[in-house]
Symmetry: C2
Subunit: 225 residues, 2 copies
């Protein structure tokens, strides 16, 4: 029984990885730089995305894939920023998989996109295990969540190419030790770039945008996943 | 292939449910009231638990099972409050299961416990699918996470017997519409008791403690799960 479970799980992951590689090949062929955004529920993924779109849409043609268990509230928010957006509902699954993303890519004008953000389901655990064909993963942590999160959920911090520390406007209102969070994240990923910002107020957003500009323009870094 | 996956998943869930029923039978036999605490990473589960222990430990003999992917920081925090605590590390799984809890119960002095809190892995999705033998589930949402969460993660709000709205001290600093959150939660669970409080400052904690007192003293409500 246990043996069969493990075998089926391996088959599922292998099938996912094969589809993820196909997605990545297609996205690179179309010269689209793709970012898989991962965070807990309520860390501010959509708000960070809205600020990022507003900051970069004059320079790059941006599109978004929204992943949620249910509903389309985030796609509606993103749609207001005049970029193409596709909503995926996983119907219960705690992460996007490569097959869901493949379907979404079929509905996007790939020839007219430079930068694609895929906002994963709100979860610090499951999305780390599933390659969806992205170029890089970026993890967002809010200061309201506490400085112990990189230690408690190490895999996603290890796999990410950058970390956004959001809700900087709440510092002082919450018990969050910035140095502790930074060193916990760097214990799993020593070179991790960290951007402290408030998507709500806009504070600190420019460093993050500048990093993104460079990544998108210089092309394809080795994915960490 | 797909057929086999579904069959294996069903077997896993059936095996889990059988073990969960055994856990529940044991816990009831020992007259232990067991609460499965579920929330996103950083919603404040451990801080709520610390306040709750301090508020009730003169009246009930309390114990705690801590569930985390990695580490034992939460068990150390709970241990400072002089109650028995067992740390489970799932090693990657995004939820506790009944078998993990069964092992932990073997290490607890069951004859000397009235009220057992099981703090699940930080996740609004996966723990909702796995009965671990609890009497009731309680979901904790922090106002920093946003008022749209009950709509986006409906299952856990549907299954919970109460909702704690934590970090009330941040109201006004975050965009959180209390009425919207309450009505979204009650759209999936019309009778859901909701406790607005700040575990950090202690504000509002008494209503939650009073509800717990009544539940523990009057015994065994029908589990919703």
């Amino acid at each position: 029984m246990i043996h069969m479970e493990i075998k089926v799980l391996r088959n599922v992951l292998e099938a996912n990885d094969a589809l993820a590689s196909e997605n990545r090949r297609l996205l690179r062929e179309k010269e689209i730089y793709t970012i898989n955004l991962i965070a807990s529920p309520g860390a501010g993924k959509t708000t960070v995305l809205e600020r990022t779109i507003d900051g970069l849409k004059g320079e790059f043609r941006i599109a978004v894939v929204e992943g949620d268990i249910a509903g389309s509230a985030d796609a509606v928010r993103i749609g207001r920023h005049q970029v193409p957006v596709i909503q995926i509902n996983t119907g219960g699954d705690c992460h996007l998989n490569a097959n869901m993303v493949r379907s979404a890519l079929g509905d996007l004008p790939l020839a007219e996109i430079d930068l694609l953000f895929i906002e994963n389901v709100g979860n610090l655990v499951c999305p780390a295990g599933f390659d969806i064909g992205e170029e890089i993963k970026v993890v967002i942590l809010s200061v309201a969540e506490g400085d112990d999160k990189p230690e408690k959920y190490p895999l996603i911090f290890e796999q990410s190419s950058a970390m956004v520390l959001n809700k900087l406007d709440l510092m002082g209102m919450v018990d969050f030790d910035m140095e502790k969070a930074r060193s916990a994240a760097r214990a799993t990923n020593p070179e991790l770039p960290i951007f402290e910002l408030s998507a709500r107020t806009g504070e600190g957003i420019e460093g993050w945008l500048e990093w993104l500009r460079t990544r998108v323009k210089t092309g394809r870094p080795t994915p960490r996943a």
